[in-house]
């Protein structure tokens, strides 16, 4: 029994598995940010004027803004002039992305193979269409043709700007305006690429769409932008994965994701976030400051966010839903695991505006090591939102005596037909449960994983199958050595 503590220690001490660097020549803009840099990024991407002007407006707004500090996280000041705002693999055709996988540098393909993201046609077997973003640019989008046959556009953001400018102009910034917040404004000014999805009226996307983000170059920031539009009655399930090499300096990732669901549309957005979390001493790691927001614009629309957050040194993200359409539904399922010196301040906002809108929030926080893990959420019911319903369940599991678990839920209600319910619990991992597993022959390590997976089950079951398996695995890795 005395052995237990050390078993648990060992359990948590696992290595980050995606920490390799790809040796590839990159076209990197020198560090620093001013209007010329923005014009340069825009020019490199041969963007139309509206895009360039939008970026400049965002930049001009951003320089008037203050970096926010209300989250329960601490970090040393970020020098925004020391970051390079554009980095692209040199071998990549710059104009409009690769025409096919044959054009993609084999080294890049190899990188994604190592990461377990198959870009080759054998990906067909997995039935997942993948857009891969390497540092700042999209390197390959698979299945583009097959999707186009049913009218779905799935491509890199740059490609969309070139080829579907009217759609981009119509929807970009319509959910997260360029003035929304400090990091969103920065992203609006400098974003280099990302994914674009358009599912036309009545179309049910025949496969899972997926983007895999990879940050490779040192001293760069990654600022991707994702825009997903589901027209009337459309359905799409979208998966996002991310990794980065191990570097001892912090790197900034400030992405923006906008989802638009028109009448009767359903968007499922799943994330498995595994950016490099820094080493066991808190050295290095990604600052993940992300703005994700969905707009249930039409009646009977439905947006569901599912996230498994295991990486990043600091996570600051609140995937939200504006429930504007009558009878619209917003969901948020989250597992956030922090270990060592990681800090996570994550949660959601559900804004009930239409009638008979419903939202569900399930958040599971797991803290280990010396990490800090906070849930921050807002449920807002405006005066006109008749019959709004929200249920929130927020649980935190503590695996060490040096970590923190915090809950900051805000509920603002102005309508007398609303029912809002919030429940939260925080406790240590149960010794009796661990003993019970072990008394049946299961090892201490497996017992911890089993109990923690059980704790997260309500979230994992919302993930598409392939991701659920990956998430379980990640959880086990993240917690290696975590129980003390």
């Amino acid at each position: 029994m005395a052995k237990r503590a050390s078993d648990v220690e060992k359990l948590v001490r696992s290595e980050y598995r995606h920490g390799f660097v790809t040796d590839i020549e990159a076209d990197t803009v020198p560090p620093g940010l001013n209007e010329d840099v923005i014009r340069l990024i825009s020019a490199k991407k041969a963007e139309p004027e509206f895009m360039r002007e939008w970026r400049l407006k965002a930049y001009r707004r951003w320089i008037t803004m203050q970096e926010p500090h209300w989250a329960h996280v601490q970090h040393s000041p970020i020098d925004y002039q020391a970051i390079s705002y554009y980095s692209a693999p040199k071998t990549q055709p710059q104009e409009d992305g690769p025409k096919s996988l044959k054009d993609v540098d084999p080294k890049l393909l190899e990188t994604y193979e190592k990461l377990g993201v198959p870009l080759h046609e054998r990906a067909k077997l997995a039935g997942v269409a993948v857009d891969a973003v390497f540092d700042s640019v999209s390197v390959a989008t698979t299945f583009r043709k097959k999707l186009a046959d049913v009218g779905i556009i799935f491509c890199s953001f740059s490609y969309a700007v070139q080829n579907h400018p009217q759609l981009v102009e119509q929807y970009l910034g319509s959910v997260v305006p360029y003035s929304d917040n400090f990091f969103a404004s920065l992203n609006s000014a400098v974003f280099s690429d990302g994914s674009f999805v358009f599912v036309p009226k009545g179309v049910r996307c025949p496969m899972e769409l997926s983007t895999y983000f990879r940050m490779n170059a040192a001293n760069t920031g990654q600022f991707e932008r994702t825009l997903i539009i589901a027209e009337e009655g459309a359905y799409v399930s979208y998966l996002e994965g991310c990794t980065a090499p191990m570097r001892d300096k912090n790197q900034l990732h400030a992405a923006v994701v906008e989802l638009i669901a028109l009448e009767g549309a359903h968007i499922k957005y799943s994330t498995v976030q595994n950016w490099y979390p820094g080493d066991a001493n808190g050295q290095g790691g990604i600052y993940n400051f992300v703005t994700k927001r969905g707009d249930c614009r039409g009646a009977n629309s439905h947006i569901a966010w599912t996230q498994v957050e295991t990486g990043s040194a600091i996570t600051w993200k609140y995937p939200s839903v504006l429930l504007r359409g009558d009878n619209s539904i917003g969901e948020f399922y989250s597992v956030a695991v922090t270990n060592n010196f990681q800090q996570a301040d994550t949660g959601t906002k559900m804004v009930h505006i239409g009638k008979n809108t419903r939202s569900t929030i399930v958040s599971k926080g797991i803290s280990a090591g010396r990490s800090q893990n906070s849930y921050r959420g807002l449920v807002k019911v405006v005066g006109a939102a008749e019959n709004a319903r929200n249920y929130t369940q927020c649980d935190a599991l503590l695996l060490s005596n040096q970590c923190g678990a915090h809950t900051f839920p805000y509920m603002e209600v102005k309508n007398p037909t609303a029912k809002v319910e919030h429940e939260a619990t925080t406790s240590k991992i149960d010794d009796d449960q661990l003993f019970y597993c072990r008394s049946r022959g299961i090892s201490a390590e497996d017992a911890v994983n089993m109990v923690v997976s059980g704790f997260c089950k309500d979230v994992f079951k919302e993930l598409p199958m392939e991701f659920a398996v990956e998430a379980q695995g990640l959880l086990a890795v993240s917690l290696e050595g975590a129980v003390g």
């Binding site: 503590l398 809002v420 429940e423």
Partner: protein, 443 residues
């Protein structure tokens, strides 16, 4: 001090006037430093997280001056509704912040219990007074406590030496009366219980019709090992009254604090109740009922700090929001790294009954220890339709049925009061605002 530098800081005139009264050097110095702190910090900025839903603009706009001479014709009957009936009650009455001995109880003193009006203690230059005051570090960040300290003049000292079980309840009544010019009062209450002391304390804030004053109260409570305080604060001020209260509690080994805060009156109310569990075995029960009706604004902020191992807290606040009322609840439970085996429960339930009402609630947990069991829950909803139907099917009209269920909703909190006669008094006070509560008692 930038934009408002040209105009004199609020309360500067009142503070200048106070300089003409005689005071020992230490007190004059304390007041000066507190006023400097208040002037420096000013009223809470609108963006401040703790004031997110409570705008102090209306309070800032009004100019309050201290009441100097309370009405002489005020009799006990005018405040009868506020009085706790008990054969041995020890009562002090303050009118617009000034102690009025004539209205107090005349019962014989209770052995082991010392109740001193603060102005008396100040006049008598009690040597230990300065040590009894809340250390500056604890009000450093709060402008209202600073303001209270700057105008420190009256209130009460309640001290019980060790090993007494006081059966006589203590009641402090603060009456707000109508004036041609609105006035501000800053009562300070200091409660010190020795080891193994048991005491019941009631603070009643009562307003006469037409009053529109500002009461800025501060109560500090120190509980020694094994002591127990049953504390009931009822706030039934007049429709125009502003009320800010600060209650600071520190608890030693195995002490128990049972707090019941009922907000049933006033126009704009903000309460902060902070409890520090400083030794093993200390426990707190923290209950409250708030009624935000008419155009009333009621904001309750509570904070419990579990500082050491083996401490417990159990909190239940229930609110009723109707008419154009706006209620705010913020309950924070902080568990320090050393505070293993903490057991903390917090529940906040709200009935939002009308279209123009608003409720903003935020239960918070900040946990830095691992071996703990903490939970909180918050709900916002309406009366149970099934229960309403059931009552109506038995012949009650809709309004009565609603009142009955609303009363029952609040009554759940009152029923948690273990101590008599406190429970009955709480029920009576609740019935002044929710008449169906008493009807349900059958008595």
């Amino acid at each position: 001090m930038n934009a408002v530098a040209e105009t004199a800081p609020p309360y500067a005139d009142s503070f200048a006037a106070l300089q003409h009264t005689r005071a020992p050097d230490w007190l004059a110095e304390l007041r000066r430093s507190a006023f400097a702190r208040f002037t420096e910090r000013g009223f809470p900025p609108e963006r401040a997280e703790d004031w997110k839903y409570s705008n102090t603009r209306a309070l800032q706009k009004l100019r309050f001056s201290p009441a100097t001479t309370p009405p002489t014709n005020l009799g006990t009957e005018a405040i009868a509704a506020a009085l706790l009936q008990h054969p041995q009650v020890q009562r002090l009455v303050f009118v617009d912040g000034v102690h009025v001995p004539a209205l107090g109880s005349k019962h014989a003193a209770v052995p082991g219990l010392r109740i001193t009006p603060l102005d008396t203690a100040l006049r008598e230059h009690r040597a230990d007074l300065r040590e009894l005051l809340l250390p500056e570090a604890r009000w450093d960040n709060d402008p209202f406590t600073a303001l209270n300290t700057a105008f420190l003049a009256d209130g009460a000292l309640i001290e019980a030496a060790g090993n007494v079980q006081v059966t006589a309840p203590v009641q402090l009544v603060f009456v707000s009366t109508p004036h041609t010019e609105a006035c501000a009062s800053h009562p300070r209450v200091m409660v010190t219980l020795g080891t193994n002391v048991k005491l019941t304390l009631v603070e009643s804030y009562f307003g006469l019709d037409g009053a529109a004053n500002f009461t800025n109260s501060c109560t500090q409570i120190a509980l020694a090992a094994n002591s127990r305080l049953d504390y009931f604060a009822v706030q039934r001020e007049a429709q125009g009254d502003f009320h800010v209260s600060r209650v600071y509690v520190s608890q030693r080994e195995r002490s128990r604090f049972a707090s019941h805060v009922y907000n049933l009156g006033g126009e704009w109310v903000r309460n902060d109740l902070r409890v520090r569990l400083e030794d093993a075995g200390a426990s707190v029960r923290m209950d409250g009922v708030y009624l935000a009706d008419r155009s009333r604004h009621v904001d309750n902020h509570t904070r419990i700090d579990h500082l050491v191992a083996y401490t417990a807290s159990d909190e239940l606040y229930r609110g009723i929001i109707r008419d154009r009322g706006h209620a705010v609840f913020n309950g924070k439970v902080v568990v320090a790294e050393a505070a293993i085996k903490t057991d903390a429960t917090q529940t906040n339930n709200n009935l939002l009954l009308t279209r123009n009402g608003e409720i903003d609630t935020k239960p918070e947990l900040e946990i830095y220890a691992d071996d703990v069991k903490c939970n909180h829950g918050a709900t916002i909803g309406q009366l149970d339709e099934q229960a309403l139907f059931y009552l109506r099917s038995r012949g009650l009209d809709l309004d009565t049925a609603r009142e009955l269920l609303t009363g029952a909703f609040a009554r759940v909190v009152t029923d948690r009061i273990a101590a008599e006669p406190l429970r009955r008094f709480a029920l009576e006070q609740l019935a002044s605002a929710l008449p169906q509560v008493a009807a349900e008692d059958g008595a």
